[in-house]
Symmetry: C2
Subunit: 92 residues, 2 copies
């Protein structure tokens, strides 16, 4: 019987492997945004955006606050520090 793989513990490296998620983070550098803004700018279906946001939230790359019926997402660059620290060693 085949071995189970290690439990899925998504990390920041995984989160940014998806181009759409990098795009979302890029958009959020412009400041806090409601989901629908991202939907419009990305040209993706709303559920997909919500799902990507969930992944980003799980690794701490974005944070959320509620405002009426909207949910405003903002960047948390701190969560990308492991990536920055790692790739730093490969500069020329």
């Amino acid at each position: 019987m085949p071995m189970a793989r290690a439990a899925t513990t998504a990390d920041a490296f995984n989160a940014i492997a998806e181009p759409r998620r990098r795009q979302i983070l890029d958009l959020l550098t412009g400041g806090e945004r409601p989901v629908n803004d991202l939907v419009l700018e990305l040209g993706l279906a709303q559920p997909q955006v919500s799902k990507h946001l969930r992944v980003l939230r799980a690794v701490g790359a974005v944070e959320m606050r509620e405002a009426g019926r909207q949910r405003l997402y903002r960047l948390n660059g701190e969560a990308l520090k492991p990536i920055h620290d790692w790739v730093k060693n490969y500069e020329r």
Copy 2:
């Protein structure tokens, strides 16, 4: 009928999402190494290491040269530049 996803064009971001591959790159910062060295240091089966090396090669993160029956792999940090450039915008 469900839509096909975009053709798999692995990029550097994908390549480094896998922890073992980052480990391989880390080992190669110490200089050129034959596959078996990596096998021993990683504690992985040889075929898995070869497969990871293939992915790394596909994105240009490592280069290879043959020496007798060995194949010596070396780092090509240049391939990680897109990652560096991207993450740079998220520094605090």
